[in-house]
Amino acid sequence: MRTITCISLVVLLAACVGGCLTTGQIKLHDSFGDGVTHNGDIYTYHVDLNTNSDYVDNKDKILSIDAISIVAVIKNNLQTDLQAEIYISENKELETVEEITDPKNATLVFVSPTVPGNGQLDISWADGFAHIVDEQAIIDQIIGDTADGMFTVYAIGNTTNFDFAYKAEVVVLLTVEL
């Protein structure tokens, strides 16, 4: 009786959790650009996650994307305060602010805090979460039926004239099959 009860408890517990034991939580980060952008020459950066070993090793095993953040260093080269904006798009040929800010062409995913004129702003991993404005747009580039891990990042300012240097990395927290 005791043996049967012990075995029954073990089997029941195993049945309750079986199927989800071979999963884990990982993080990956990749560059989101490193350059100078101004309204006369907008900086673009082509992301290819297929060059990221963490992504390549896990892209077919991703169960969910749990959180996204951006770590960045932004240096404003003009006297006017600005907010840096990052757009992503499948289209790598956008050239003007009007084309980039058109929702049919690109999606705004990140808006920085105010970067003071002639100043620098460092955005930490912890702060970056709060400045992601469209997490789903980034997720759609990573997983899903049409996701191929390749897209273009455009960096512009929210002022008529902008000139800033930025360096950014995207941090993605994932649940994957092991």
Partner: protein
């Protein structure tokens, strides 16, 4: 359905032996909570309290509360560049409470008492800047309690805890602790 089945097993075990309480004990414990297959937290201390009711010398049921403080994870950004820096990703805190069942020598008799352990309860993982994760959790493990003549038991236990999440994943930990229990020793 699985949850109800397990709860029913616990109730059934309790109902079949109702009226045959041989021991009641309460205690506290401390140990380590070691996240497994998780890059977002490292091991940290664990503390808790528990109570057990023993029916016959073979079956006991109880309740527990555990609190863990996970270790942080470090991540380096802009590696190899002038802006290179290492940031800390907080591991956060875990809390769990629920019901458990013990099978084995669990009646508080003096000497070494070995048992098989199972639990069901609520688990919550909280971290700065991230949404809380709150799920049902299951545990399974082994333990031994050495009960001394003056009704004090020293207990050690190892538990593997799994909290399935909505995305077909799970949060897993290996927990170990050592604790002390006072046995009221009814009917011994």
């Amino acid at each position: 359905m699985r949850i109800y089945a397990l709860a029913a097993l616990i109730v059934l075990l309790t109902a079949t032996t109702a009226g045959a309480v041989v021991d009641i004990s309460i205690g506290a414990f401390g140990g380590m909570d070691i996240p497994t297959a998780n890059d977002l937290a490292t091991s940290g201390p664990l503390y808790g309290i528990q109570g057990k009711v023993g029916f016959t010398q073979f079956i006991a049921v109880g309740v527990f509360y555990r609190a863990s403080s996970y270790g942080d994870v470090e991540e380096t950004f802009f590696e190899g560049e002038p802006e290179e820096h290492t940031a800390t990703i907080p591991g956060g805190d875990g809390t769990s409470f629920g019901a458990d069942v013990y099978l084995g020598r669990i009646s508080g008799m003096p000497g070494a008492n070995f048992y098989l352990y199972g639990s069901i309860g609520s688990y919550k993982w909280t971290r700065d800047n991230l949404a809380d994760v709150s799920e049902l959790a299951y545990g399974m493990g082994l333990g031994v309690e050495v009960v001394l003549p003056f009704k004090l038991g020293i207990e050690g236990r190892g538990v593997f805890q799994v909290a399935p999440t909505e995305n077909d994943g799970s949060l897993k930990s290996f927990i170990w602790f050592i604790g002390a229990n006072y046995h009221f020793g009814l009917g011994n």
